[in-house]
């Protein structure tokens, strides 16, 4: 089992992801440069956070057109696991692998803090191991998820809302939805459920020293995949 951790100019969560996967989850990982054109030998993709291409034009816009992304498209279509966190989520949306887009937070500010998440779907490889409310950090200026009403209804109907921002008790509350996302959506899945995008950083919550190990609840889906290889 080897996970490709993509690297774009401006990625800054690539090392967090690499160490979370290798040292805390205990699966193989290696970096893949954005100019590369092959994912041969890899079984999953992690699109990390950061400020790819300086966040110029729109967050994730240029990264989503990088050479490696054609291969990520093919990989995703084959039903193989792809996860994008923070800027990685923005990149997957810009690439059309996930619906919607991420806009400037409703209160304009960059928000860096722990948030609570509730898994709304328990069927996908990314969410089937999730029990209870997760405490995972966010760190973003542009994380307000928006999507048109029709697509939103489809996401809800198909169980593709993966995570919502909630209180520590797992309840919905306006204040718990700190970036102002539509319907407090923190993460969504593609139709097959193999591609997950979310603004929170599971790779920053993988050991006690970091204050939470709840991120492992999401990433451990990869271990199930590894077991079936």
């Amino acid at each position: 089992m080897k996970v490709a951790v993509l690297r774009f100019p401006g990625s800054n969560c690539d090392q967090d992801a690499f160490h979370a996967l290798r040292d805390d989850l205990g699966i193989g990982a290696d970096y893949v440069w954005h100019q590369d054109t092959s994912l041969a030998g890899f079984d999953a993709v992690f699109v990390p956070g950061g400020f790819s291409y300086g966040d110029y034009l729109r967050c994730g816009a240029m990264a989503s057109r990088a050479p490696i992304m054609a291969e990520v498209q093919r990989f995703a279509q084959e039903g193989r696991p792809v996860i994008g966190a923070c800027n990685g989520f923005q990149i997957l949306c810009e690439a059309g692998l996930l619906p919607g887009a991420l806009l400037l937070n409703a209160e304009q500010k960059f928000i860096c803090k722990d948030v609570y998440l509730r898994a709304e779907n328990r069927d996908s490889l990314w969410t089937r191991g999730v029990e209870g409310v997760l405490r995972i950090p966010i760190a973003h200026g542009e994380g307000r998820y928006v999507v048109d009403d029709e697509t939103l209804r489809r996401l809800e109907g198909e169980g593709r809302v993966a995570f919502r921002y909630v209180t520590s008790d797992g309840e919905r509350a306006d204040w718990a939805n700190s970036n102002g996302s539509v319907d407090a959506i923190a993460g969504v899945l593609n139709e097959k459920g193999n591609v997950l995008g979310l603004m929170p950083h599971p790779e920053r919550a993988t050991r006690k020293l970091l204050g939470s190990t709840d991120g492992l609840n999401i990433l451990k889906g990869l271990k199930l995949v590894a077991a079936n290889l």
Binding site: L57, R58, A61, M62, R65, C93, E94, P99, G100, A101, L103, L104, N105, A106, E107, Q108, R144, V146, V147, D148, G180
Partner: protein, 75 residues
Amino acid sequence: MARVRVYVTLKPSLLDSAGRTVAGSLQNLGYSELKEARIGKLIELEVEPYSEARVKEMCDKLLANPVIEDYRIEA
């Protein structure tokens, strides 16, 4: 050489939180007639030769995101 201007704006249905902040600041300066401010992008392109179809393609492929933005080309 043709200079082409592409104006990219957030769809009217979406909250422009940066524009709202600017509007608040202008109102603080006493411009009470101001009801709303919205911020967009102006992208200047130099192309030779100019083809509207190809510039439109650039907008669709990269310069604007149809999920959240509209664009207008001025040649």
